[in-house]
C-alpha cells in the first residue's frame, strides 16, 4: 500500500484515492522535433529499480496533480512536491541522498 501526502490539500491519501500519471519531468518534443526525439518522448521511459519520480493525481480528493519521489523496489516515499516543478526540488534530493547514499542523482 502506497500512501502519498498531497501537497495541495495536505491529506495523506492512500493509493486507491489517487490516479497514477506515469513518469515525471518528461521533456516534451512536439512539432519540428526529430523522429528520434519524438519517439523517445512518447515511448522511452526510465523504468528504474530504485529511486523514481512520478506524477500522481489526487483524483478522489482535491483533484490536483502533484509529483512524488519514491523507490520502486521498496515503495519508500521520499517526498511529494508541486506539479509545477521543472525538476526535483533540493529538499527532495536531500531526502533521497539521506536514505540512498549511493544514488547517482537526478538526470
Amino acid at each position: 500500500m502506497l500512501t502519498l501526502t498531497c501537497p495541495c490539500c495536505g491529506v495523506a491519501a492512500e493509493e486507491t484515492e489517487l490516479a497514477p500519471g506515469g513518469e515525471a519531468h518528461l521533456k516534451r518534443f512536439g512539432p519540428g522535433a526529430s523522429d528520434e526525439d519524438f519517439e523517445g518522448y512518447l515511448f522511452a521511459r526510465k523504468n528504474p529499480k530504485g529511486v523514481h519520480f512520478e506524477r500522481w493525481r489526487h483524483a478522489m480528493g482535491c483533484g490536483k496533480w502533484f509529483l512524488a519521489a519514491r523507490c520502486t523496489a521498496t515503495l519508500e516515499v521520499f517526498g511529494t512536491y508541486k506539479a509545477q516543478s521543472p525538476e526535483p526540488p533540493p529538499e527532495i534530493i536531500a531526502a533521497i541522498k539521506a536514505r540512498r547514499p549511493d544514488w547517482k542523482g537526478y538526470s
Partner: protein, 186 residues
C-alpha cells in the same frame, strides 16, 4: 414549474446507526482565486461564514462554506435560496476569474447519525476517522465513487455525493450500518 425533489426523497435506514437522505439541500460550487479579497467578501455575504482554510468547513445558521480544493469551495445554503445566492455571487465576482454554479440538483446529501456513525463510513472510505476533527471536510471515495464528508454534529457524519450515484451510496451506507456488523462490539 416542476416540483423539486431530492434524489431519494428522504429515504431512511436503521441499523446500529441511522442513515438518511437529507432531502433538498442548496449547494453552490464556487471556483476562483481563494486568495482574492473580493471572493472572501462574496462568500461572507452569501453564507455569513469566513473563508475556510485548507480542508476546513465553516458553518453558521444553517449555511456553510467548505474548502474543496485550492481553487474551489462548496457553499451550502437552503435549497430555495441557492439560485438567488449563485446569481448574487456571480454579480459580486463580475470581473474576477471566478465561477459560481448552482449544483443543488446534481448532488445528494446523506446523514449518518448515532454513536457509531464513524464505523459506517470507516468501512467505505480510506480515511483515518480518529484524526478527522469537527470543522474539517474530507474529500475521498465511498467504495467506488467520489464523496465528501464531514462531522456535522458530534455523533453525525454528513456525506455529499453525485446525485447519479445516490442510490448506490445509500445502499452502501445502509448495508454498512446493519445491526450486528459493528466493527468493534463493545
Amino acid at each position: 414549474m416542476s416540483e423539486p425533489i431530492s434524489a431519494l426523497a428522504g429515504k431512511n435506514a436503521e441499523g446500529f446507526a441511522r442513515v438518511s437522505e437529507a432531502g433538498l439541500q442548496g449547494m453552490i460550487t464556487l471556483r476562483g482565486n481563494l486568495a482574492s479579497a473580493a471572493l472572501a467578501a462574496a462568500v461572507k455575504a452569501a453564507t455569513g461564514c469566513a473563508l475556510p482554510g485548507n480542508r476546513g468547513i465553516h458553518t453558521k445558521a444553517g449555511k456553510a462554506a467548505a474548502w474543496m480544493s485550492p481553487d474551489e469551495l462548496l457553499l451550502l445554503v437552503p435549497y430555495g435560496e441557492a439560485e438567488a445566492t449563485a446569481a448574487a455571487l456571480e454579480a459580486a465576482l463580475a470581473g474576477e476569474h471566478a465561477l459560481a454554479a448552482n449544483v443543488s440538483d446534481a448532488r445528494a446529501l446523506f446523514r449518518v447519525s448515532g454513536a457509531k456513525a464513524d464505523q459506517v463510513a470507516m468501512k467505505l472510505c480510506p480515511v483515518d476517522f480518529a484524526r478527522l476533527p469537527q470543522g474539517e471536510i474530507r474529500r475521498t471515495r465511498a467504495a467506488q465513487v467520489a464523496a465528501a464528508l464531514w462531522r456535522s454534529a458530534p455523533d453525525e457524519i454528513s456525506l455529499v455525493c453525485f446525485r447519479s450515484v445516490a442510490g448506490y451510496v445509500f445502499d452502501l451506507l445502509a448495508i454498512s450500518a446493519r445491526t450486528g456488523s459493528e466493527l468493534a462490539p463493545a
